[in-house]
Subunit: 373 residues, 2 copies
Amino acid sequence: MNFTINKTIFYNALQIVSHAISPNSPQPQLRGLLINAENDSLVITGSDADISIRKKIVKDEKNMLNIIEEGSILIESRYLLEIVRKIDNEYINVEIIDGALTKFSGSSAVFKINGMNPMDYPNINFSKPESFINLPVSVLQEIIEQTAFAASIKETRPVLTGVNFRFNDGKLVCTGTDSFRLARKVIPFESDASFNVTIPAKGLNEVKSSVLQNSDSSVELYMDARKAQFINEDTIIQTKLLDGAFPETDRLIPKEFLYTMNISRSDLISAIDRTTFIKTENMAIVRLQCSRDEVILSNKSQEIGESRETLAAQFEGDDLDISFSGSYVIEAARSLKGPQLKIGFTGEMKPFVIFSEGDDSVLQLVLPVKTYN
Amino acid sequence: MNFTINKTIFYNALQIVSHAISPNSPQPQLRGLLINAENDSLVITGSDADISIRKKIVKDEKNMLNIIEEGSILIESRYLLEIVRKIDNEYINVEIIDGALTKFSGSSAVFKINGMNPMDYPNINFSKPESFINLPVSVLQEIIEQTAFAASIKETRPVLTGVNFRFNDGKLVCTGTDSFRLARKVIPFESDASFNVTIPAKGLNEVKSSVLQNSDSSVELYMDARKAQFINEDTIIQTKLLDGAFPETDRLIPKEFLYTMNISRSDLISAIDRTTFIKTENMAIVRLQCSRDEVILSNKSQEIGESRETLAAQFEGDDLDISFSGSYVIEAARSLKGPQLKIGFTGEMKPFVIFSEGDDSVLQLVLPVKTYN
């Protein structure tokens, strides 16, 4: 194998693909990036067995790809990234000189690096599942930002570490929950497809940071019972799905509210953020005392002290006294976009729902916390 | 105690003083900042027992300090910083309401925090030693940047964890060494003072990040056998000195060279930086093969591979083959300022010296490493 390519374009591609790599994988092949040079294009593959990314670079006037000899190499990802990033020329030449020993040349600098045998790289099946939908990059980005943070980080119920994507009746419903809070985004949608899968939140976050870079383009999302595959231009990222039934959450979400509150999103975030250093058992449990006259946010810990402030909020309903995790409500409020929030309550020990005023597509549900004030 | 002050000015002062704090100190008082309000000024003190900082804020039109009642409080540093940074007003009021319970008020937000008894704060002696010199902030900054990094980070020889400041014969000589490399800065200076002390590098780095913010001003450096005290405007930082004799290093520094090399500083840094990922036993040992015709930088590891590049350098002397720690030479070169370096060698197993061309005040000495190429 022997090819020359523009350093910056090559580096950016390697960096995207390396998102799939676990640099400390016990399997040395999975610490590597596989590069295939054939038919006037490079195909770069990286994987940690759960998530795999493949990116193709087709020869053009910008990348100036010149394949002198076809072939493939497998090189430890971190060495490859270091060399290509720092090489002393606008172009880099990559050549196998002996077995897996690969030479990288810039202007004066030359590296000869011990690669691995590409034949030992696991066979990753990038075949496309049949069912698919097409989403603008900006929409997929919003789905991930507004739901993935609410997934569980504990492995006790593995299915909760993912975001459920359910599509039927012309609606794509995306739900993340760790059983203490829930995030839901609903996109109306025309398609013949029908699916109900749970995609690991980790995979979605990799999708966001690797393929969703050009927000003007669109993403094809292919799914079957085993994997989800995202295709954007010349990049494919696929992740295995989570097994097990995602909990039925529809009935948990109240549709009508006995109490409602309207508040500026940034005011709510600042007020809670001011008080989260006051922790009890490592959690900031914030208390909201609402009446038509006044909404008071307070927090108290035996050890540290207490805080109290009046919020500039409009509250409708009977008096309400409710406590919750400050960081859950901050994360929920941060994920919603608009300037104004509406919060709907149904009772002091019942889940409450946070909406962005003027955006029906997304809701954030939070369970209150029992306190003994 | 009861005072009101501009939030931003108060926060900046607290942040400077908190540099002295070890947030996880086993002694709760030392996790706190002590604030004394008297005579139209606030005095803020923080300490980890080795390093202590005291900053005074005198009432003026910018800080709008208004002391309604004199007194003192001792509050855990991280709570104080959180509250003052995030308070919902341009001004903050601080008031003792009961014993050590202290109230912080902004516009709507109110915090009542459990403080500690100021009487329990250790008595820190901020008296000025007699011997002192006066340095421009920019000069002290350069001394610290060019010497402190070369001090040892291992506690095996405690005196090497500091920078030696020796003043006599009209010269201030500052030396840092970990016994594998040495950094020396010499400042010609008029003063009657005479001293030879070793200041912990940690303390110097705190001086740099806390008091050396206004580079137009000057610093008074007071010293006796036990402590060094730096005074800049309204800030005092003092550190205990390291015991033990600092090694005699003058004779280690060659004055004449058998071989010399001239090279662009950025070229040398880039060339070494490109190859430091090739490590043997976790160290990048770089080899320089010099002749009048060519200077070659190379690096080799059994496991990873090798690199080789020709440097655009002018070399004078017989052929020379020398190996050294890449990161030591990068750190030395980074600390020197000018565009062009001169490196003087006296032999393949003898220390070599890196100068910044046109700046005689500073030198960096590095010991070569024996290799079996």
